[in-house]
């Protein structure tokens, strides 16, 4: 999927994650801010990257502000943001 416009999904509420997606020049890139960055930062990044790969996204900048989201929420919000960015 090709990112053609900036898009966002999710909220800043507890247990959610706010995802912003932008077109990128050189592959996929993640900028993460999380209340549990030290403990789960790598796992959150992995879920985001796995979701991008699953959707066959190659050039996206993902800016994520995490409020303690579980994996299913991270995946859902990334999927939604990507679909909105590709429409």
């Amino acid at each position: 999927m090709k990112i053609v416009r900036p898009a966002k999904a999710g909220t800043m509420e507890s247990n959610d994650i706010y995802i912003m997606v932008y077109p990128n020049e050189n592959g996929n890139e993640i900028q993460l801010d999380s209340i549990v960055l030290k403990q789960f930062g790598n796992q959150i990044k992995k879920v985001i990257m796995d979701t991008l790969n699953e959707l066959e996204v190659e050039n996206a900048l993902v800016v994520a502000k995490d409020r303690g989201a579980l994996d299913y929420t991270i995946k859902a919000r990334v999927e939604t943001a990507i679909k909105r960015a590709c429409e």
């Binding site: 999710g10 507890s14 299913y72 929420t73 919000r77 939604t80």
Partner: protein
């Protein structure tokens, strides 16, 4: 067993992941009224991933889709039916909608290799026409396992005031309860909207039970305990039912068709009521099977 069915907004991760542990028999993940128009896609995706990932702790997983006429309903069915929820709740259900949705789900069940008919339907009756047509609506699909009365929309449709006492929905409740009993599906009562009035909730639930409703929808987790209590057999009921069945067994041994308990005649309908109480108590876990 659907004593309590709890509505949960479909775009709220916090409420979704806590919902299986609140004591409700069924969780209704709502893609319709609880989700704004510009977040329908997001809620659909979140509910889909939640159903794929979370353990719902034995609760029935129901998804309220948007109506077919809204334009969102088709996408809801296509995304959610493929991960096999227990049931769909269909807003403002009509015979035509149910037939079309049944057919769409059948196609998906075949494509996904699911057992045909495994996804159930619960029509939401919330128009005057729906109340009058409820018999035909239930008959329009073998997937239907329950009917839910939506009194807020119903009273709006009829142009009448909705009150706490609920006299205005006596007919709708009675009709739905009677038709559901005739067609052997559950009759689920409308939610009680004052989430801070537990005495009012209890009275409302007891009124619905008296008429024949088998459960009640909840819009707040704090309503679940009262609803479950009202729609469960009491210990007095269970003790009475046990005594009836014991007396029946004894009379049968003695070759008697009709017998008396506490000075009152016990015949087939009373025996059936006692057996139903025992079955319900077993299903809830109040007595061992």
């Amino acid at each position: 067993m659907r004593r309590s069915m709890l509505f949960i907004p479909g775009n709220n991760p916090s409420m979704i992941q806590n919902s299986p542990f609140l004591g409700a028999d069924s969780i209704i993940l709502d893609l319709e009224d609880a989700v704004s128009l510009d977040e329908k896609d997001s809620a659909r995706c979140l509910v889909r991933n939640a159903l794929l990932s979370l353990d719902f702790n034995g609760c029935e997983k129901v998804v309220r889709i948007n109506s077919i006429s809204s334009g969102f309903g088709y996408d809801d069915i296509d995304a959610i039916a493929r991960i096999k929820p227990d049931a769909f709740l269909i807003p403002k259900a009509t015979e035509d909608d149910i037939e079309e949705i049944d057919s769409l789900i059948s196609t998906i069940e075949r494509e996904e290799g699911f057992k045909l008919g495994c996804i159930k339907l619960i029509p939401l009756i919330e128009t005057a026409f729906g109340v009058e047509d409820v018999f035909n609506i239930i008959k329009s699909s073998k997937r239907i396992v329950a009917v839910l009365l939506g009194a807020e929309d119903l009273t709006a449709d009829m142009g009448i005031k909705r009150t706490k006492e609920g006299e205005e929905i006596f007919y709708a409740r009675s009709r739905i309860a009677s038709v559901c009993a005739a067609l052997k599906v559950d009759a689920i009562d409308t939610p009680f909207t004052d989430v801070n009035d537990f005495e009012g909730l209890r009275k409302d639930a007891e009124k619905a039970k008296l008429i024949g409703m088998s459960g009640k929808a909840a819009i707040n987790p704090r309503q679940i305990d009262v609803i479950n209590e009202v729609f469960s057999p009491s210990f007095d009921d269970i003790n009475w039912a046990k005594r009836v069945i014991e007396a029946y067994e004894k009379a049968k041994m003695e070759g008697k068709g009709v017998f008396a308990l506490d000075g009152k005649m016990v015949d087939a309908p009373i025996l059936l009521r006692a057996k139903n109480i025992i079955e319900k108590a077993k299903a809830i876990g109040l007595i061992k099977g």
